[in-house]
Symmetry: C2
Subunit: 408 residues, 2 copies
C-alpha cells in the first residue's frame, strides 16, 4: 500500500470539482457493470449535507439502482474557500474504508471505485437507511444496532492494534493515517475551544450559561480535559474512525454501517466508543423534550441504555476473542482486564467531551436543537453538561453511569 | 526536512563499507577545513566497539586533531551478516543529532559531515572523555554530570513534545522517526525476552535463578511489564534518545554528551530518564562488589544518588520553564503536575526494565560483570532484580526509591 503525503504541496492538476452533470458523466464512464447496465442513462442529484465534502447520488433513469459519489474539495464546503482544507481527507477515507472493509465488510459501505487524483470515491448507496441520529430523534427501534456497532468496533480495533500487528506493520499504518489536518480540527473543535469562553465556533448563547462559565474555570476539570486531549493526540492504539457520532452511522433493518471515515487516524479506541456513547446519552436526555409521552420516553431511554450495554458487551467479547485467538504479544490476563478497563474509562471521558462540544461548541446537535420548548431545551442542555462533568471527573463503570443518569 | 523511507527496499548502489584505508581517504576528500589543514596526512583506526556499527577515529599525523567516522552496516556488526539490520539507523541518527543539536548543542557531539548514500556521519571526537559507565566503574567523580544530563533531557523533551509543537509539526516528526527496526529490537530485547525463560539472547545462567523463575511466572508483575511495553510502543510524547544508558553518555570535565542516537524515536520521556537512572542504580548496587573500601563505597553511592536527584530536579526545572514560556496548549497547573508525576513513574518503571535486561537479558552489564568475586556478583544480581521488581510493582517518589535502596 503506497503512502499518503501529508506534508508537501498537493498535485491538483488532474483535479476538478464535479457538479450534477459531470458527476453523472463520471460515473457513466466508469462502467460499473455490477450496478448499471451499459445502456442505462444516469442522473445525479446533489445531496451534500455534511460540513466538508461534495456528495452526489447518481442513479439510473431506468431502474432503482444508484450509487453515492463523494468528492473532497480543497476547502470546507459549508464555509467556503475562506476555510481551506486539504482534500487529502478523501485519500484517508479511501484507505480507512479499505482497511476496515478488509477486516469487517459488514461495517462499512461497499466501495466500487476510487480516484486519488480526483479525490473521489464511488460507493454503495445505503438508501433507504437513515443515520442513527435521525432514527433516534424519531424514536425508532432498530434491531441489533448496539450489537452491530460493538462488533464493528471490536473487530476493526482488534485487527488494527497491537493484538494483531507487529511494530513494523503498525507503524506503517500509523504513518498512513497521520492525518494532521483533520486531527487538528478535532483537537480544536472537540477538545479545546469549548473550554475557552472565546473559543472559535462556540455557541454564543451557551457561553453565558453559569454552568459553562463554571466548568471553564474549574482547573481540576480542565486538567482532565487536557489529559483526554493528550491521549487523543498521542495514543496510537488502533485505527479509529475518528468521528463516530450517531450521524456517522447508517442504520436500517439488518444494516449498520459507519460512513464518513475522513477523520480516521491512529488513536485511542475509547475515542470512538466514547463518541457514539456520548451521542446516545445526549439523545437519552433529549427524549423528555422530544416527546410529551412519559411512557414512550421511559421506554425509549431503556432502549438506548440497552444499546450502550450491547455496544460495550459485544466490543468486549470481540476483544476477548482477539486475545484468545490472535494476540501476538502473550498479554497476561490481568493486563487484558486493565486494557478493557482503560478503554471503558477513556470512552467515558470522550463521551463527556462529545456531549459538551455538541451542546456548547460548533454544531449544536439536532437532538437538542429539535426540542421546541425553549425551557425544556435549556433544561436538556443543563442536564447534558451536568452528566458530562460528572462522567469526566469520575468515570466509573456502567452502574455508575446509570446512577449518574438517575441523578439528573 | 525530507523523510526517511522505512518501508521500501533500500538503495545501496552508492554504498560501500569503509576500512581504515578508505575511511582516511574519505575524510581527507571532505576537506574539513575547520579541523584539518589541507596538507595534513590522515590515518584511521578502527575503534568499533558497539554492537551495530563501524566506528573509525581518523586523525592527523601532524597534529592532535581527529574526528570520528561512524558508518552503518547492513547487518549487526557484532553478530555478522546472519543478522541483517537496515543501515537506515544511521539516517535516524543524523536527523536526531540535527534536531537535538538545534535545541541543545551542548548535549550532543558536533556533526561535521553526513552522507546518507554511504550511511555515514563524521563528527566530533570526544576523546579523552570516557563513557559515563567507564567513569562509574572506576569510581570517578565528574562535576555537574547529573545537572547536565537533566538539562539535555529537559530541553530536548520540551521542544520536541506538545509543549512546543503543533499537531502537524509533531506528526511530521513522528513519521520521520518511526524507526520500526530499532524499536523492535528494544521491544524484544529490553521489554519482552527477559520475561520468557526461552527468550532469545537471555543469559542462560540467570534463567536458573529462583528469583528469575519467580518473576517470569508472576502474572501481576508481567501485566506491569506489558503496560510499560505498550507505553513504549504507543506513546509518542517526545523525540527520545531511545537507548540512554550510561554507556551512551560521554562524560568529562565540563562535558556531557549523548552519543549513539540510532534508536531515536517518538516515545515516552520516562523511557530515557528511566534508562539512565536504571544504569545508575545498577552501578550503585555494584559498588559493594567493585570496591573493598566500605567508606569509598558509601561515598560513591551518595554521589550516584545525588546524580539521580540532579537529573530529575534539572529536568523538572526545564519542563517547568517550558510550561511557563513555550506551552502552546495552555495546560492548567494541576495537569503539569500530573505530567511530571507520570513521567517520574514511567521513569521508575523503565529503570526497572533496564536493570532487569542488563542483568538477565542480552548483554550482561560491565558494572556487574566486573565484580570478580563470584558470590558478590551473584548477590549484586539478586539485589538489582529485587530492586527492579519493587520499583516496577510500586513506583513511588524519590523517597520511596531511597527506602527501597535501604532495604537491599
Amino acid at each position: 500500500m503506497s503512502g499518503i503525503d501529508y506534508f508537501n504541496e498537493l498535485n491538483l492538476k488532474e483535479y476538478r470539482a464535479l457538479d450534477i452533470k459531470s458527476a453523472a458523466e463520471y460515473v457513466k464512464k466508469q462502467q460499473l457493470k455490477e450496478i448499471f447496465g451499459s445502456d442505462e442513462e444516469l442522473i445525479a442529484e446533489d445531496i451534500s449535507d455534511g460540513n466538508l465534502n461534495l456528495v452526489f447520488r447518481v442513479k439510473s433513469k431506468n431502474s432503482s439502482r444508484s450509487v453515492i459519489l463523494k468528492q473532497g474539495l480543497p476547502y470546507v464546503r459549508r464555509v467556503g474557500e475562506s476555510w481551506p482544507l486539504t482534500p487529502v481527507r478523501i485519500l484517508v477515507e479511501m484507505k480507512a474504508l479499505q482497511i476496515h472493509g478488509e477486516i469487517y465488510k459488514e461495517g462499512i459501505p461497499e466501495v466500487y471505485h476510487t480516484d486519488p487524483a480526483m479525490f473521489l470515491i464511488i460507493m454503495e448507496d445505503l438508501h433507504p437507511a437513515k443515520t442513527l441520529r435521525d432514527c433516534l430523534i424519531e424514536g425508532e427501534y432498530i434491531s441489533d444496532i448496539g450489537v452491530n456497532i460493538g462488533r464493528y468496533l471490536g473487530r476493526v480495533m482488534a485487527y488494527t492494534s497491537d493484538f494483531f500487528l507487529d511494530i513494523t506493520a503498525k507503524r506503517r499504518n500509523i504513518s498512513l493515517f497521520l492525518n494532521p489536518d483533520l486531527v487538528k480540527i478535532t483537537e480544536d473543535l472537540v477538545l479545546t475551544n469549548p473550554y475557552h469562553p472565546e473559543g472559535w465556533g462556540n455557541r454564543m448563547e451557551a457561553m453565558e450559561y453559569p454552568e459553562v462559565r463554571a466548568l471553564q474555570n474549574d482547573v481540576e476539570f480542565l486538567s482532565k480535559i487536557a489529559a483526554l486531549r493528550d491521549k487523543f493526540n498521542n495514543y496510537p492504539q488502533a485505527l479509529i474512525h475518528g468521528d463516530l457520532h450517531s450521524g456517522s452511522i447508517m442504520a436500517g433493518d439488518n444494516l449498520c454501517k459507519a460512513i464518513d471515515l475522513e477523520f480516521a487516524t491512529y488513536g485511542p479506541i475509547g475515542f470512538d466508543i466514547g463518541n457514539i456513547i456520548g451521542s446516545l446519552l445526549i439523545n437519552w436526555i433529549a427524549q423528555e423534550g422530544l416527546t410529551d409521552q412519559p411512557y414512550q420516553c421511559r421506554q425509549y431511554r431503556m432502549y438506548i441504555m440497552q444499546m450502550i450495554e450491547d455496544i460495550w458487551d459485544t466490543f468486549r467479547e470481540e476483544i476477548y476473542n482477539a486475545w484468545l485467538n490472535i494476540d501476538k504479544r502473550r498479554w497476561p490476563s490481568p493486563y487484558l482486564e486493565k486494557i478493557l478497563k482503560d478503554i471503558w474509562e477513556d470512552a467515558m471521558g470522550y463521551s463527556g467531551t462529545e456531549m459538551i462540544r455538541r451542546t456548547i461548541g460548533l454544531g449544536y446537535i439536532a437532538d437538542l436543537k429539535n426540542i421546541e420548548d425553549v425551557q425544556k431545551r435549556r433544561l436538556a442542555d443543563k442536564k447534558v453538561l451536568s452528566l458530562a462533568l460528572k462522567i469526566i471527573k469520575e468515570p466509573g463503570d456502567i452502574y455508575k453511569l446509570k446512577e449518574y443518569l438517575k441523578e439528573l
